[in-house]
Symmetry: C2
Amino acid sequence: MGKRSKKTDEVDSKPAKRKSRKGRAKADDDGLLVGLDIGGTKLYAVVADSSGAVRGSARKKTRPQLGFEGVMGRALEVVAEACEDAKVPLEALRGVGVGAPSPMLPDGTAVNAPNLGWRNAPVGALLEGQLSRPVITANDCDAGTFGELVYGAGAGADTLVGLFMGTGLGGGIVIDGKPVCGENNMAAEIGHMVVVADGRRCGCGHRGCLEAYASKTGMGSYLRCQVACEGRETVLTELCDGDFGSLRSGALAKAYAEQDELAVEALHESARFLGIGVANLVTLLGPSVVVLGGGVMEALGKQLLPHVERAARASAFPPGTLKKTKICLAALGDDSVALGAVAWARQRLL
Amino acid sequence: MGKRSKKTDEVDSKPAKRKSRKGRAKADDDGLLVGLDIGGTKLYAVVADSSGAVRGSARKKTRPQLGFEGVMGRALEVVAEACEDAKVPLEALRGVGVGAPSPMLPDGTAVNAPNLGWRNAPVGALLEGQLSRPVITANDCDAGTFGELVYGAGAGADTLVGLFMGTGLGGGIVIDGKPVCGENNMAAEIGHMVVVADGRRCGCGHRGCLEAYASKTGMGSYLRCQVACEGRETVLTELCDGDFGSLRSGALAKAYAEQDELAVEALHESARFLGIGVANLVTLLGPSVVVLGGGVMEALGKQLLPHVERAARASAFPPGTLKKTKICLAALGDDSVALGAVAWARQRLL
């Protein structure tokens, strides 16, 4: 007992009585971390323990127009407020995990974040300088996928793929418990896998990317064409003020609930392509779990999941291989990137 | 020195004067292995040391009509002959690596080898029983890819993808030095990734698989359609006796050398699709090396490589990402599966 301090003994004998995310009480023996989700519209931070239980959180609008330093100033405030909410001093934290909408270099540089207007922005260095804590950064979809593996729908899996369908289609890949970032730190760009050679033009400039079909942008293309070229009607025209480029998941859910023919068609088309994307990832990587998240799946996951599964089954190779893969909805919702960043930082720091 | 035998000292003081595959002489301090390539047409075995230097080899026709036990009897003969050629007794070998044209379970069962007519064939158990050496099995394309990483064109890389274009399109994926087999042991079926949703029918029954375009089978479909439906002519009609389903790489090379218009078109189409497949793998996995092999690339690699690269560049995401990926031709040729099986067994046994 010589080397154990009184304090440690006390901690051992009085385990904290909080509940983890999964309802299991677990001693927090390896320290707390902050997870920071830098999004195009919101900044969100959580303080979490090793079981993924959120001790405190805070959020703010991003306001990208403030530029890199302005946004990062707000991010520092959000981190401080999350610590306050958790009643933990910043100094007690073991480190900070960050998810940002950009390919991230190992040194914490955000290479290109179009939603924020950043290029080669030193996210990690700035935070580390201001917070004096170790900072680990990740692409937001990579972090979200890893969060689902560690704390969410894929808990217990070793090899997992995540696809997040919203305005675009993001994704992440984890193999044998390790996120795949590629030698270029830009891998897992699942939305830009070509599934229709010479097909529909994608926002990235290429043709036939999965994102051009399986996303709100893809549905917008489909609807625009059906309304403008085929003269068809849909309640979505009114719900999005005639701008199919700005479809909201809530509007899609409303139109789906009303069984608006064209809206249902567009959603099922996106779900079918999402299934083709899932099939390709199963054919290539044989994951045990595929997690589907993002705004559209959060709003309509239950309704769309059977369509995704059917399409995946029709294309995954060898036939029958999907029996060994669980396709399910993401479980962490809004916390996914922040908790994923916590898990990511934990894997590297602790 | 007490525990070192005289024999060991002799070996230490008189290093063998053979050259390794790469021209480097290297002491074989961790033992020899046999690599066995079980193909649809030939059985081929090599005895190799840790540097990949081939000490001896042997080959025989497979004769699949003899059935599983008949073929395996011939495989045992080939292994014995390779040992004889290397002047090494079987007992001196550290183990046997096997590549077979089937998904392989970890226990050495070949799940389904259509070219051999095998289902759930106990390849590993039979060899281990007969040879009394440890046996490690792998899918042939996975082994071939791993061989290129360890001894071939990808030597030094950590993350590498291999695509082998012949009658079909096989492939393998290695991430961080470890082959990706998937939780179903059936991953890396690169030829069955969908690249044209609702496209051309593939031999597997699905639609739009890469193999339906980027393979001799794909070229056959293209040629058949152009000749039968469009009334076009090609020297290949005579070279393959009117059966575009049995195109040989040599015939394609001959027609290409003659600049036969339709043959050139078919080959460039396949190369373009191969490039789209490469792009998808780069977008998803960010490998440092992509190796292209197989009969067609062995015959026409130099001519087709620029077409593959151009198509890959046009579709890989983010744009410019290919700058960090080397696309090159396979280096091991006929030895690729057997040497890959050696490397695979070495990773697991030694």
